[in-house]
C-alpha cells in the first residue's frame, strides 16, 4: 500500500516533469522556427523597404524599416533608365517557349523510350543519361561558338533553343510513362488507335503530375538562368531579368534604393505565382532537384 502510493507519487512527479519538459521543448521548437522564418523573410522586407526610400534615407543609422518618407518614384526611375518591362517580357517569352518546347519534345521522346520497341533504344537512352553527368560549363563554350556561327548572338533563338534540349526532362517523363499500366492503351490499339492518339489521349492525361513537375522545373530554370544570357546577350533589348538586374549594378553602384526597386520588380511575378501554386512549386522543384 505504502509502496504503491510512493510509486504513484513518483509517477505523478515524473509526468509533471515530463509535460513541463515537453512544453519547454515545444516552446524552443517554435522559437527556432520563428527565428529561422524571420531570417528568411527579413531580407525581403528590407528589400521592399529600401526600394521605397530616398537615396539619402538609405544612408541613415539606425536604418528605418518603414520609411518615414515613402518614395514610389524609384520604380518610375528604374523603368525609365532601363527597359525593365522589356526584360520582364523577354524573360516571360524565353521561359514560356522553352518550357512548352521541353514539354512537347521530352514527352514525345519519353514515349518512344517507354513504349516503342526498336534496336538500340536502351543504348540511346543510356547516352541521354550519361550527358546528365556533364556540367553545363563543359558544353557552354562550344555552344557559344555554335551560336556565333549561326548568327544567334543576341537573338531569342540563341536564348531559347540550346536550353530546350537536356536529358533531364526526357528522363523524368520516361520514368513516369513506364509506370503507367499498359491495359488502357492495349484496348485503344485493338480499336485501331495510332501511337500518336495513344500518346495524346491516354498517356499525356495520365502523366499530368509529372508534366506539372517538369513545367515548374523548366520554367524556374529558364526564368532564373543567368550564365547563358550573360554569355550570348549584350544588347539590352534582348536581356532577360536576371541579366538586366545585374546591369543595374554597374550603373548605380551606391543607389541601393533604385537597385532594390529593380529587384522587387523581378521578384514579385514569381512570388505571386508561388503563393497561389505553392505545392506545385515545392513538389516540382524537389523532384527536379535530381538535376539542378
Amino acid at each position: 500500500m505504502e509502496i504503491s502510493t510512493k510509486q504513484q507519487q513518483v509517477k505523478t512527479a515524473q509526468s509533471t516533469k515530463r509535460s513541463f519538459g515537453t512544453i519547454l521543448k515545444k516552446g524552443l521548437f517554435y522559437l527556432i522556427l520563428i527565428l529561422g522564418a524571420l531570417v528568411m523573410i527579413v531580407p525581403f522586407v528590407w528589400m521592399i523597404s529600401t526600394s521605397l526610400k530616398t537615396q539619402g534615407a538609405t544612408m541613415v543609422l539606425p536604418p528605418e524599416i518603414i520609411p518615414s518618407d515613402i518614395n514610389w518614384g524609384n520604380y518610375m526611375k528604374v523603368t525609365q533608365a532601363f527597359p525593365v518591362l522589356r526584360f520582364l517580357g523577354n524573360s516571360l517569352l524565353v521561359a514560356s517557349v522553352s518550357t512548352v518546347g521541353q514539354l512537347i519534345l521530352c514527352s514525345m521522346a519519353a514515349y518512344a523510350f517507354a513504349r516503342l520497341k526498336f534496336r538500340g533504344r536502351d543504348f540511346l537512352f543510356l547516352l541521354y543519361l550519361a550527358t546528365l553527368m556533364v556540367p553545363a560549363q563543359v558544353t557552354m563554350t562550344p555552344q557559344f561558338i555554335l551560336m556565333k556561327y549561326l548568327g544567334w548572338i543576341n537573338t531569342y533563338e540563341g536564348l531559347i533553343l540550346p536550353g530546350m534540349f537536356n536529358a533531364f526532362g526526357t528522363f523524368l517523363l520516361r520514368q513516369f510513362f513506364i509506370s503507367i499500366p499498359r491495359e488502357l492503351e492495349e484496348a485503344a490499339f485493338i480499336d485501331g488507335a495510332s501511337h500518336f492518339r495513344v500518346y495524346w489521349q491516354i498517356i499525356l492525361p495520365l502523366a499530368k503530375p509529372a508534366l506539372a513537375t517538369l513545367t515548374v522545373f523548366a520554367f524556374m530554370q529558364s526564368w532564373n538562368n543567368f550564365l547563358w544570357p550573360l554569355i550570348i546577350v549584350s544588347d539590352s533589348d534582348m536581356m532577360t531579368l536576371p541579366l538586366g538586374l545585374s546591369m543595374l549594378q554597374g550603373r548605380w553602384e551606391t543607389d541601393w534604393n533604385l537597385m532594390m526597386a529593380g529587384v522587387v520588380i523581378s521578384v514579385l511575378p514569381v512570388l505571386a505565382v508561388y503563393l497561389f501554386a505553392q505545392n506545385y512549386f515545392i513538389q516540382g522543384l524537389t523532384m527536379g532537384g535530381l538535376k539542378e
Binding site: 528590407w46 519534345l105 550527358t131 556533364v134 553545363a136 532564373n224 549594378q249 514569381v270 505553392q278
Partner: protein, 294 residues
C-alpha cells in the same frame, strides 16, 4: 506488306524521337565532343585554332589562379555543405512534428529557393554593406563591430557561404521532409514500447532510415556547389584580391573575357573530372552508410 509495316514503324519512331534527338545531338552531343577537342587547342576565336596537345592541361598545373580557384571552391563546399545539411535537417525534424503553422513555415523557408540567384545576391550584397547594411547594424546593437564582409578578403567567402545557405536551406529542408514522411511510425512506436529516449530514436531510427535521403542531398549539393558561380559573379566578381575566385568563374573569364577557348575548355573538363570522381567515390562508399531498408 511486312516492308510496309517496317517503314511505318520506322516513321513512328522518327516522329516521336527525332525532334528531340536531333536537337540533343546538335546542342549537347556535338558541343561535348567539341569541348573535348578544343581543350587540346589554342583558340582566340579570331585566328584558326591550333593544336597544342596537352599544353593546356600542363599549364593548369602551374596556374596559380586556377589552383587558388580550386582551393576557394573547396573552401566554399566545406563551409556550405555541413551548414545547409544540418540546418535543413534540424528545421525538417521540427516541422515534421505536430506543429501549428506548418504550411506557413514551409512556405517561408522556401521563398528564397524560387528567387533568382541574381536577386538574392543583390539583396545580400546590400545586407552585407559595411556601413549601412542591416547585418553590421544588427551586430553593432550587440556591441560587435562587423567586418567589411564582401570587401574584406577574409570575410568575403564566409559571406557568400551564408548567402548560399540561406538560399538553399528551404530546398534541402523539403527533401528531408519528404524523407522523414517516408519513415513508418511503427518504428517509433516499437521504440517507445522499449522505452527508447528521443536521442536514441534519432540515432538509431531517424538517421539510418534517412540515410538514402542524406545521400541524395549530399550528391546533388556537392555537384551544385562545385559549380558555384552566380552569387560569386554578382557579389564579388571573384574579388577582393581574388579571394573568392572559383572554378566556374575561371572558366567564364578565360572563355569570355580573355577569349582563351581552348584553356577554358580544359578547365571545364577538369571540373567535370573532379565532379565525376567525387560522385563515383560517393556511390562506392554509400554501401557503408546508406540504408535502403531492404
Amino acid at each position: 506488306m511486312v516492308g510496309d509495316k517496317g517503314v511505318k514503324k520506322f516513321l513512328v519512331i522518327c516522329l516521336f524521337l527525332l525532334p528531340n534527338f536531333a536537337g540533343f545531338i546538335f546542342f549537347i552531343g556535338i558541343p561535348i565532343f567539341a569541348s573535348f577537342g578544343l581543350s587540346f587547342t589554342e583558340w582566340d576565336l579570331i585566328s584558326d585554332p591550333s593544336w597544342i596537345g596537352l599544353e593546356n592541361y600542363k599549364a593548369l598545373l602551374h596556374d596559380e589562379e586556377f589552383k587558388s580557384a580550386l582551393v576557394h571552391t573547396l573552401y566554399f563546399i566545406v563551409g556550405y555543405l555541413p551548414l545547409v545539411m544540418t540546418g535543413a535537417l534540424a528545421i525538417a525534424l521540427i516541422l515534421n512534428k505536430k506543429i501549428k503553422g506548418r504550411v506557413f513555415f514551409r512556405a517561408a523557408y522556401f521563398v528564397p529557393v524560387i528567387t533568382s540567384w541574381v536577386a538574392v545576391s543583390l539583396i545580400w550584397k546590400w545586407l552585407f554593406n559595411p556601413t549601412y547594411g542591416l547585418i553590421n547594424y544588427g551586430l553593432s546593437l550587440i556591441g560587435v563591430a562587423g567586418p567589411a564582409w564582401l570587401q574584406d578578403p577574409t570575410w568575403a567567402m564566409p559571406a557568400i557561404i551564408l548567402t548560399s545557405v540561406w538560399k538553399d536551406l528551404g530546398f534541402v529542408m523539403v527533401i528531408y521532409l519528404a524523407g522523414l514522411q517516408g519513415i513508418s511510425p511503427t518504428f517509433y512506436e516499437a521504440a517507445d514500447m522499449d522505452g527508447a529516449s528521443p536521442t536514441q530514436k534519432f540515432r538509431h531510427i531517424t538517421l539510418p532510415l534517412l540515410s538514402s535521403t542524406t545521400f541524395f542531398v549530399l550528391i546533388i549539393s556537392l555537384i551544385n556547389s562545385f559549380q558555384v558561380f552566380d552569387q560569386v559573379m554578382i557579389m564579388t566578381g571573384g574579388g577582393p584580391a581574388g579571394s573568392t575566385s572559383v572554378l566556374v568563374e575561371r572558366i567564364y573569364k578565360h572563355a569570355f573575357e580573355y577569349y582563351e577557348m581552348g584553356y577554358a575548355s580544359a578547365v571545364s573538363w577538369v571540373l567535370f573530372f573532379i565532379i565525376f570522381i567525387v560522385t563515383v567515390v560517393q556511390m562506392k562508399f554509400q554501401k557503408r552508410w546508406v540504408d535502403y531498408g531492404n
